[in-house]
Symmetry: C2
Subunit: 436 residues, 2 copies
């Protein structure tokens, strides 16, 4: 007999948790669709050459090979599992460019794979939930605001407490670095150092900066800038506190102001310490953290970029997007028990069966309730009723129906209250019951 065991890094949920995950997926997908984002899906598998087109990513990917590969395979290009949804999306837009309408708004929920070493205990397979808006040539700033409004609403749908969106703008950072005469070659390294603030604190960032060939004054300006936070009402501090008048800096501040004006309700905080590691981003950058679960760090992040698919197509396609780490969030919900765990199935009503002669009638009653939108099981054999009720109880099924053998009236019992209702037909009972 084969041993059965977990492979670390490949999460798998019990039915009670998968029901919660599916509920979240459904609600978030509905939200994305309510803003006109259309679903797309790319294969899990891409050419290795496609995945590496943005630079060195080899250490994180899984390559595929046929178990019985033979000499006929050798001309086949190397295949690999995608490690994010951004590169496949860029390839998709380039490949289907002439069949898409721009601005193109898409959402994409898929598993991604990372070839981590197993002992590190990190996810090697997990869900990402991405949205992006891609335009041709020019991407209006309203797009940044829309993506932020949606992500704010998405987090309000999840049972994980309040979230905070930290927002910054690469133009502000780079404009500021220019204004203190930081060499453009060093700016990227400074961004990478500042990006580590949450992990290594201010003293750690200072040490990292000291390794670079920049002056004491520059370090002190950079560190001072990381302390600047402001809400919607005091954006003016961005221009007063740092005394920076570099045109790029002011352009970034203006963009932030416009975005904030379009977000009257979202919980967004300007945070000058937010840097994001990737040099991909060119304007807005943002990260979402959970106020009650700081140890989970950043559970979602995104930003604006100038060109989605320059590796694949000779068109300028600026975009803005955000990615939600759904599996990390589910891990949090499961580990902290932040969901209803009483329902082990979607079933709302169990129709009991006294004997096999009654099964067709029970099936008909169940079908009527299904036609009213209910999820209904008919007990699949006909043991004593006590055993059937026990089954409903163990699965968290909220209602149980009993069909009278003589009158054919239906008695429905609510499991939690033990209340009983008797009806002529099940439609009567279903009316007004609104599940899901």
């Amino acid at each position: 007999m084969s041993k059965v065991k977990n492979i670390s890094g490949f999460p798998e949920w019990l039915p009670k948790h998968k029901l919660v995950e599916d509920g979240l997926i459904l609600q978030i997908s509905k939200l994305f669709k309510s803003y006109g984002f259309t679903p797309i899906e790319t294969p899990a598998v891409e050419l290795k050459s496609t995945l590496s087109s943005k630079g060195v990513i080899d250490k994180e990917i899984y390559l595929l090979r046929r178990a019985l590969a033979d000499s006929s395979d050798k001309d086949d290009e190397e295949l690999a599992l995608h490690f994010d949804l951004t590169v496949p999306f860029a390839r998709y837009v380039a490949q289907h460019y002439n069949e898409l309408t721009f601005p193109f708004k898409r959402y994409q929920l898929q598993k991604v794979w990372r070839g981590e070493r197993p002992q590190r205990g990190r996810f090697r397979e997990f869900y990402q939930f991405d949205i992006d808006i891609i335009a041709r040539e020019v991407l209006p700033i309203a797009c940044d605001a829309e993506v932020l409004a949606i992500i704010d609403q998405a987090f309000k749908l999840m049972p994980i407490g309040p979230s905070t969106i930290r927002l910054n703008n690469r133009k502000i950072l780079l404009g500021f670095y220019e204004s203190i005469n930081l060499d453009s070659k060093l700016q990227k390294e400074v961004l990478i150092a500042v990006d580590k603030l949450d992990k290594i604190q201010i003293a750690g960032v200072e040490k990292e900066l000291e390794k670079l060939s920049i002056t004491r004054e520059q370090i002190s300006s950079i560190l001072k800038a990381t302390e600047l936070r402001c809400g919607r009402s005091d954006v003016s501090r961005l221009t007063s506190s740092l005394g920076c008048n570099h045109p790029l800096y002011l352009e970034g501040v203006e963009e932030m102001q416009q975005i904030m004006n379009l977000l009257p309700e979202a919980n967004v905080l300007f945070d000058l310490s937010l840097a994001r590691g990737l040099d991909y981003y060119t304007g807005s950058i943002f990260e979402i953290a959970l106020q009650d679960h700081p140890e989970y760090g950043t559970v979602s992040s995104g930003g604006r970029y100038e060109n989605l698919a320059s590796e694949f197509i000779n068109k300028k396609l600026p975009g803005v997007g955000v990615s939600i780490g759904l599996s990390r969030i589910m891990d949090l919900i499961v580990k902290k028990g932040l969901c209803d765990q009483s329902r082990l199935s979607p079933t709302e009503l169990l129709v009991t069966v006294y004997n096999e002669e009654q099964r067709s009638k029970a099936n008909a009653v169940a079908q009527e309730a299904r036609n009213c939108g209910m999820n209904v099981e008919v007990f699949l054999s006909s043991p004593k009723l006590g055993k059937q009720i026990e089954y409903a109880d163990s699965k968290g099924i909220p209602f149980v129906a009993f069909i009278d053998e003589n009158t054919r009236a239906i008695k429905v019992k609510e499991m939690s209250t033990k209340n009983e209702t008797t009806v002529e037909n099940i439609r009567e009972w279903c009316t007004g019951k609104a599940f899901e």
Copy 2:
């Protein structure tokens, strides 16, 4: 710049088709849930030893290897992509046995991968949609009927014309083979030969049978049996035509009769030529084909088995289940254009924007419509209205709203009829609109 091209065998849909696929997935999932089936999901990746526990499958699987594998990887067991959902499901049930409630009814929709040679032009990544009912020790015959009722309804949800369920029972076949004194070692080979009937016709099956060491009379009886078909009304032909009284045969006929009695509405045909290759099945076996698209062959199949997970756990877990080849069906829908292709996004209403000062008002109107359940886009910049209407037209968005700059009344235009309605607020217009 990287070349962008299709990798054969890895299908990918345009947005208009992905919307159709998502609609089918939603409807079929709802159907499964309406019978109390609960969703589960297993990782795409299993240990190679798990996947091969049922026998030789090596030629079909993809193995994984880290792109930068080094000596620290060598103790890691080999990982592979699952090639179906049955083996992972068996592993799941064994692994979580103590946390599941039986009978366990689950559905599972996931991609599976087959390490086919690319030149064969077959799918190497595709969706399967499976349901199974698993019981402890004894699985009531009502389960077979329920699975057949569901699959019949599932096919009625798809825009692919009428389908036929062909039903047989391994007990009937094996009881019949016993009654003609066919050696039990040969029975499996006879099943495999008969299973090829659709591909090689009766003469081909005859040739295959002639290769086995069985008599002329046995061959003639086997071939005669493959001709027997009957509907719900003439099940009696099963006992009269073949004159077989073997107890196993009669048991199978009795099971078929019970199943049919519980399926007053499904389009099911007994077909004695149906054999199914796998020796896994022990009772009901069935296949679904499409009347209007015979060239697509079997698009769904299933049956009853005595033991789901004997390789992984020392428990008797009989089950019955069915698998739908969703990607094959989508391929059919796309190739034959069997769906509405006018909608390129889920958007139902576009709110136009005269100028950027009006954007906040437009956002508020859109949000009100979203709260009424509509999918709404606000145009993301503010060019001439003609350009905005053109966008709605090119994306197949059915309604466009214009907010009067002075009165703030809202005019909604139906794109197909050019009819216009003016309302005080958008909620008024949304009432009674029922999309999705």
